[in-house]
Amino acid sequence: MHSSLVRLQQVFGFLTTVSFALGTLIALTSYLYPMTPTASIKVRDIAVVKRRSGGYYSTRQNEYAKIKFDLNADFDSLYNWNTKQIYVWISTSYGGDRYPTNEMIIWDKIIDKTALSKKITLKNEPAKYNVHDITGAYANRNATLKLSWNVQPHVGVLMWGSASDSVTESFMWPSEKARAAV
């Protein structure tokens, strides 16, 4: 500590130690707040249409699912002093013979902590993403929708979860162009 340069280095060195300890403490407080968001999804409309998938040069066709849904969700409990933003998404999952586990995101949203309301109400909302199955055909399989969330904190680890009460009743992918109201 005899010269200015050495004191500068010494203070900065101890600052890194203190910052790390402070960051650890802040990250740990994230676990003090129970994260119990609620959500309910209602499937309004399911349609399957055949479209070319490879662009104008391809003649290959895939079945695309077009989904409309209602969402009523309250994400208030995900926000504490260490929450920067959250990412929520609705995914559809269904089984299959060749590929037994399928899960695809059909809608998502980033909600910043500065957002005025942490509640979301959607009526007859069309899915953001029109998804297709890996085999190219849905073949009348049964599926469900579910809402999941991801909390991105200022300091600390990402936290993941899903609103268990959001899982919809199972519905069947309709045949191409046959519309089924659920």
């Binding site: 500590m1 010269s3 200015s4 004191r7 010494q10 600052l15 203190v18 910052s19 402070l22 002093w81």
Partner: protein, 106 residues
């Protein structure tokens, strides 16, 4: 010209005495730790992490300002060097430690 150079060098070096070094180290430890604890408590109490950032930055700036420049308070006990006139005879010297003469063998 050389005098100006020396003056400039002294400002850049910023040497302080031994007691000043101990004091500077203690101030570093205490102000940084206390400002971190304060930053956490204020941020947690107001549930606003931005306050934690600002209080922490303020404490850090204060620490740098208080410790890095060679303030006069760090130079209250400069080391006194023996004068060259202590050498009475060639070859053997008399050194005074705590007011007592010490004979030095050569």
């Amino acid at each position: 010209m050389e005098a100006i150079q020396d003056q400039f060098q002294a400002i850049v070096d910023g040497f302080i005495d031994f007691k000043g070094q101990k004091l500077a180290e203690q101030i570093t430890t205490y102000t940084l730790s206390v400002s971190a604890i304060l930053a956490f408590l204020i941020g947690f109490a107001t549930q606003n992490i931005v306050y934690t950032l600002y209080v922490g930055l303020a404490g850090t700036g204060l620490t740098f300002l208080a410790v890095v420049p060679p303030w006069p308070v760090y130079n209250q006990a400069p080391v006194k060097f023996l004068s060259a006139s202590g050498n009475k005879s060639a070859g053997g010297g008399v050194i005074i430690v705590d007011g007592q003469e010490v004979k030095v063998k050569t």
